[in-house]
Every structure is written in structure tokens, then in C-alpha cells.
């Protein structure tokens, strides 16, 4: 399955987003020129309630907070993070 893996990004959901989507981790087929924002939008097409949280979600790329327009490449780890509430 290596060729398939090579074209995917790992997408992680946490907290209420994970409950909404039903899984904490998914593989997303990466297309040329895609961005974090576009990936979120595609998940929001499948789970429309995700869109309600767009304004309060932070995104990460490879374990660093990242801007929504950040390009995504195969092999990346993208996270969608609700407002943090540790402590």
C-alpha cells in the first residue's frame, strides 16, 4: 500500500471535533495545491456541523500551529484543534 500512503496526509481531530466526525484519525488523499483550509472544507461537506466550529478551530501542520492557507503535502500530519482547555 506504499503508493497510496505516499499520496495521503494524516488528519487528526480532537475534543468535540473528534466526537462529531466519529474518528480521531483519518487519511486524506492530498491533491496538488491543496491547503489546510480546503481539507477542512471537504470534511465539512461530509459533516456539515463541522462548519459551525470553523471560527473557533485552530489548525496544525506537523505539530506546529499553522495558518489556514498553509499548503499541505503528502506525508503531512494535519490537526484540527478546538479551543484548548488544559490546566
Amino acid at each position: 500500500m506504499a503508493p497510496v500512503m505516499a499520496m495521503t496526509a494524516k488528519v487528526l481531530f480532537f475534543g468535540r471535533l473528534k466526537e462529531l466526525v466519529g474518528v480521531g484519525e483519518d487519511l486524506f488523499e492530498v491533491q496538488e495545491g491543496t491547503s489546510i483550509s480546503r481539507i477542512f472544507a471537504q470534511y465539512a461537506e461530509r459533516w456539515p456541523r463541522l462548519a459551525e466550529f470553523r471560527g473557533s478551530v485552530a489548525a496544525s501542520r506537523n505539530r506546529e500551529f499553522a495558518a489556514w492557507e498553509t499548503p499541505v503535502e503528502a506525508g503531512d500530519e494535519i490537526g484540527f484543534l478546538p479551543p484548548v482547555s488544559g490546566g
Binding site: 473557533s56 490537526g79 482547555s85 488544559g86
Partner: protein, 159 residues
């Protein structure tokens, strides 16, 4: 040289061990923060909490807080441990210990460390009440700068 300690754990946090870990012969003060599970929230009785984390990123962010605290304050060592999973009322969810030659830096660094943890470390708390459960409101981390087209963001802000 750097003897800081950062961890996520599903076991009880051993606070005295963390205090001992940061205390060295050169220190005049150890300041600690013990974050514990309160029995009420927004006027409702809390039964228990659960915490989950983006574990790899949370540890990275905790280490960054330690490194930045060192740059900002004249401190010796930092220990920072956050617990995950189910926690009962009164249990410690997060413990921070900071040692320094003088108390001022230790107080300031400990306060800054917990405030920064609560704002930037990807950990989430769910509160369980008698009539249901809610995710805590939480805080939105400061927005990152937009990347230059095609450029990977820098791996670490800390130098």
C-alpha cells in the same frame, strides 16, 4: 546542563518528586502550581473530568514553554506534568515546579508557565455533571503568521 522535566501521564502526579527534581543546592526558592479538579463549574456540581491531548504536540509545546521561561526569567529548573484520562474531584490535573536562586523569578516564571500552558498546549477537558457532559470552553491559541507560499513553517520558534 538542562535538567527540566516535561511529561503527560495517566497516573497520579507525584508532586513531591517533582519538587525534589527541580531543587538544587544553588536554589533559594521553589515555586509550585498545583492545578486540581474542582467540584463545581458554572454553578453546577461536577462529578469528574476527563482530559485528552494531542500528545506529541502537547509535549513539544510544554518543552517550548520551558525553554522560553528560561530565556525570560532567571530560573534554574522547570518541571511540568499534565495528567490525562479520568480525574476525580480533588486530584491534581497539572503540576508545575520552578526553582530559582531568588523567589521573584520563580514566582513570575511559574505564573507565566501555567498561563501559557492554558493558552497554547493542545489539551482538552471534558466536564461531567449529573445531567450530562460538556467540553470546557477553552482558549483559542494566538493565530500563527501566514506562511510564505510553498515554504514550510519553521520547525521551532525557540532558538
Amino acid at each position: 546542563m538542562c535538567e527540566d522535566h516535561f511529561a503527560l501521564t495517566r497516573e497520579r502526579i507525584d508532586a513531591p518528586a517533582l519538587v525534589e527534581h527541580v531543587r538544587t543546592a544553588g536554589d533559594g526558592a521553589v515555586v509550585t502550581f498545583d492545578g486540581c479538579v474542582r467540584n463545581h463549574s458554572h454553578g453546577r456540581r461536577t462529578l469528574y473530568l476527563t482530559y485528552e491531548a494531542y500528545e506529541a504536540m502537547a509535549l513539544d509545546k510544554m518543552r517550548e514553554i520551558g525553554a522560553e521561561a528560561r530565556e525570560k526569567f532567571a530560573i534554574d529548573r522547570v518541571a511540568m506534568v499534565h495528567r490525562l484520562g479520568r480525574l476525580e474531584i480533588g486530584e491534581t490535573s497539572v503540576f508545575i515546579a520552578v526553582s530559582a536562586a531568588h523567589r521573584g523569578a520563580a514566582f513570575e516564571a511559574c505564573r507565566w508557565a501555567i498561563d501559557t500552558l492554558k493558552r497554547t498546549v493542545p489539551i482538552w477537558k471534558k466536564e461531567f455533571f449529573e445531567d450530562g457532559a460538556v467540553w470546557a470552553d477553552g482558549e483559542l491559541p494566538p493565530p500563527p503568521l501566514a506562511p510564505a507560499a510553498g515554504a514550510a513553517p519553521p520547525a521551532k520558534a525557540a532558538s
